[in-house]
């Protein structure tokens, strides 16, 4: 089996972009589900970049595609071999569902690929029964980002809940006077894979309100001001994983003393 996969890997054309690892890839496509089965959550998500003819493994996105809708893929090329899902791997990677782009659902059989056995790792939170360590001071003005998928104000599971939990733990310890929650939207139109895409400007406000509502529940009584800005510029922040588009689609929670 291993041998077969290695042979298959050799037979695959090496994509131009993959040769240069860490390169940013961004395109719009209909996703393909590969029914690999190594237990729960082990299936593969693939998406073809029509411009280059390259099929990428986009399974490592924290927010996975819906096979009935298009996705905006944003990711970085890696040197990882294509043996989990049968395509070179983008990591880090994001796949945002584009609900106004209908797709024909397409499922490939496993064809010998194992997918990836699920492991709890990365950005996840402990149950409430596990006490959070108190972050050390001194405490001073600080901003915490929360990131979103394209076109969405939905809190991404095992990404945003982690970021929010971390921010709230710090805020509980630091006791700032108030919070300013600013939503941003990537509302400047861009052409990707021949499509003009832009986030609606009101998404900036919705994002701020969504996060402010959760903060009111997590930190009852704290003073919260919401603001919003469109045309967010990209920022280089570690939790955006080096994906410029991700850093544009954010909310900033600023703690003021």
């Amino acid at each position: 089996m291993r041998k077969l996969l290695a042979l298959l890997a050799c037979a695959l054309p090496v994509p131009a972009a993959a040769a240069e690892t860490g390169a940013l890839v961004r395109y719009v496509a209909c996703p393909i589900y590969r029914d690999a089965d190594s237990g729960k959550k082990s299936g593969c998500w693939l998406a073809d970049d029509a411009a280059t003819g390259q099929r990428w493994d986009v399974s490592l996105s924290p927010y996975k595609p819906d096979w009935n809708y298009g996705v905006l893929v944003e990711g970085r090329t890696t040197a990882a071999p294509p043996d989990a899902c049968g395509a070179p791997v983008l990591e880090p990677v994001r796949t945002s569902r584009l609900y106004d782009m209908p797709c024909t659902r397409h499922m490939l059989p496993a064809e010998g690929y194992p997918g990836r056995r699920y492991k709890l790792q990365g950005r996840y939170i402990d149950p409430l029964s596990v006490a959070r360590p108190v972050p050390p001071g001194p405490y001073a003005e600080r901003a915490f980002p929360i990131y979103f998928e394209f076109g969405n104000d939905f809190l991404v599971y095992q990404y945003d809940d982690y970021l929010l939990d971390r921010a709230v733990t710090w805020i509980r310890a630091a006791k700032p006077k108030r919070l300013v929650v600013t939503g941003f939207a990537a509302s400047r139109p861009e052409t990707i894979s021949g499509q003009v895409i832009a986030e609606p400007t009101e998404l900036a406000r919705k994002r701020a309100q969504t996060i402010a509502e959760s903060l009111r529940r997590l930190l009852p009584g704290i003073a919260i001001e919401t603001r919003w800005e469109e045309s967010a510029p990209p920022a280089d922040e570690p939790d955006a994983d080096g994906i410029p588009g991700q850093s544009q689609r954010r909310v900033e929670i600023r703690a003021l003393f």
């Binding site: 589900y33 029914d35 089965d37 237990g39 729960k40 959550k41 082990s42 299936g43 998500w45 996105s61 924290p62 927010y63 996975k64 595609p65 819906d66 096979w67 009935n68 809708y69 609900y99 499922m107 709890l120 939170i125 149950p127 409430l128 029964s129 998928e149 969405n152 104000d153 939905f154 809190l155 991404v156 599971y157 809940d161 929010l164 939990d165 969504t210 509502e213 959760s214 903060l215 529940r217 997590l218 009852p220």
Partner: protein, 504 residues
């Protein structure tokens, strides 16, 4: 006649034949056998332990702490005008729910005069001739009560909710969505639901994590004590805590015109939190807490609620010891008992480990980003240790009430929902449903058909299953999932799952 009695699954055949007699008799507790049926206001003392025979063996009800004198107790006294008490629909022998079988037995025993059949919701619609059995068909055949919800929706505090969908009545076989005073135009919608068991409550109230990952928010706060709410009460989660739930139950089911007093609220809450129930012994497998197994309600009573099976005690590992019975233990069992116990242990593994593709299920495949489809098992949704409900708020659209996944039941109303903003990600702009579920609380078309996962304990005592009684028996539950998700269970897998569920 429809219902569990008319067409028993083959493996239940011999048991059901004898059930009519068993169902009305009570397993003796103490000296004389007290009646199986708890009538409102009868004044019995609720003991620390009750056992009731059922088709699969027997159910045990445990009351933590001291026995409760039910005389004058607001859970047991008829508070309102129709003679019912909470216990009318939450019967100990039926795992604190009410089986369709019991409803039929009450009809037969009382000629339909039991307050259970009160016009308000124990009939298909109050506008029907109440003396006729046919007017109570949904309760008698499917164990369903009428639930009337305001339209447009209202929040728990009466605040108006602006829905992002419109609703039209496609079919109204009972009149309660179109007769004068009824239906969306008159400001209400009637759906039909099974009573949810009032037991093992600490699990339904437990808060595991501070977020609702399905809705994408931190958990809402309880208006009474400011703490986070579990989001696991009621099919549509219209009540976030027990106090709001009992106010709702009082004014509707009991036709109680006053508010419950704080003292009554405290007494009902105290009772609800102390009742634990589960199957205690199996007709085929014997005692369920035997040879290392931890079946029965004592383990439920004694465990910490709210743990995720994937990081703590695996779901249904209560029966793990039966997977590796020692030859000495095995020799002490009859071949039938041994085979059954092994089947239960396998069933627990099928429940946890046998994966399938979950598709087009809002709450799992959208908006949360697990992917559509996502490969997982029964335990993905039924993930809480000991209980099998959802640790997170459990509003998921399995399709049990919504077309095309539900059966086209002509005796239930059908609504046409039109999403006014974004279409529903899986159904599109127009949805046909018999019960919009959670959407009747949130007013969101994305929530149409979502039903809160319920407890999985005491199943043997409370058929039929699912919020609308879609599955007449446990085999019906497995068959529904097998069809819905093209699982391809073998006959052995199905029987193992049925056997497992029969001993929860």
């Amino acid at each position: 006649m429809r219902g569990p009695r008319s067409n028993p699954a083959p493996h239940l055949g011999p048991v059901l034949a004898g059930l009519a007699t068993v169902a009305l008799a009570t397993v003796a507790v103490g000296k004389g056998p007290p009646p199986r049926w708890w009538a409102p206001g009868e004044g019995r003392v609720f003991p620390q332990q009750l056992d009731y025979a059922n088709a699969q063996g027997s159910l045990r009800v445990l009351l933590a702490g001291e026995p409760v004198a039910t005389k004058g107790h607001p859970f047991f006294e008829p508070l309102g005008s129709n003679g019912r008490a909470c216990v009318t629909c939450h019967q100990p022998a039926d795992a604190m729910s009410l089986s369709a079988e019991t409803a039929r037995a009450r009809w037969d025993a009382t000629g339909g005069k039991d307050p259970l059949f009160a016009a308000i919701d124990g009939s298909d619609c109050p506008s029907l001739p109440q003396a006729q059995r046919a007017s109570h068909a949904l309760l008698l055949n499917r164990g369903l009560f009428r639930i009337e919800r305001p339209w447009p929706p209202k929040a728990w505090n009466g605040a108006p909710v602006t829905p992002d969908f419109s609703i039209a009545v496609v079919r109204d076989p009972n009149g309660c969505n179109s007769a004068p005073g009824h239906g969306p135009a008159a400001g209400n919608i009637s759906v039909y639901r099974r009573p949810r068991p009032v037991a093992n409550m600490k699990y339904l109230l437990a808060v595991g994590f501070p977020f609702d990952p399905k809705q994408g928010y931190a958990l809402p706060l309880d208006p009474d004590d400011g703490r986070m709410q579990s989001g696991n009460l009621m099919a549509d989660n219209r009540a976030g805590n027990l106090r709001l739930q009992m106010d709702d139950a009082g004014t509707t089911h009991l036709e109680f015109r006053k508010r419950l007093t704080p003292a009554q609220v405290t007494r009902i809450t105290d009772f609800e939190k102390r009742v634990f129930t589960a199957q205690q012994s199996s007709r085929q497998g014997g005692a369920l807490d035997d040879m290392g197994a931890k079946g029965g309600p004592a383990h439920l009573r004694d465990s910490e609620p709210g743990a995720l099976g994937s990081i703590g005690e695996p779901v249904w590992s209560e029966y793990a010891a039966w997977d590796k019975l020692s030859p000495a233990d095995a020799a002490r069992l009859t071949p039938e008992q041994l085979a059954f116990r092994r089947s239960v242990a396998r069933g627990a593994r099928v429940f946890r480990d046998r994966t399938f593709l979950i598709t087009d299920t809002a709450g799992i495949n959208s908006r949360i980003g697990f992917g559509n489809p996502v490969r997982n098992s029964c335990v993905f949704c039924h993930n809480m240790s000991q209980m099998g409900n959802d640790v997170a708020p459990g509003q998921v659209d399995l399709g049990t009430t919504t077309m095309p996944f539900a059966d086209p039941w002509p005796d239930l109303p059908l609504f046409r929902i039109t999403c006014l903003k974004a279409p529903h990600p899986h159904y599109g702009r127009v949805i046909l449903t018999m019960d919009p579920g959670f959407a009747l609380t949130t007013g969101r078309c994305a929530d149409v058909g979502k039903i809160t996962l319920q407890s999985m304990r005491g199943l043997a005592a409370r058929a039929p299953y699912f919020s609308n009684g879609l599955a007449k028996d446990l085999r019906g539950v497995v068959d529904y999932y097998d069809r819905r998700y093209h699982i391809g269970y073998s006959e052995q897998d199905k029987q193992d799952l049925v056997n497992l569920m029969s001993v929860l």
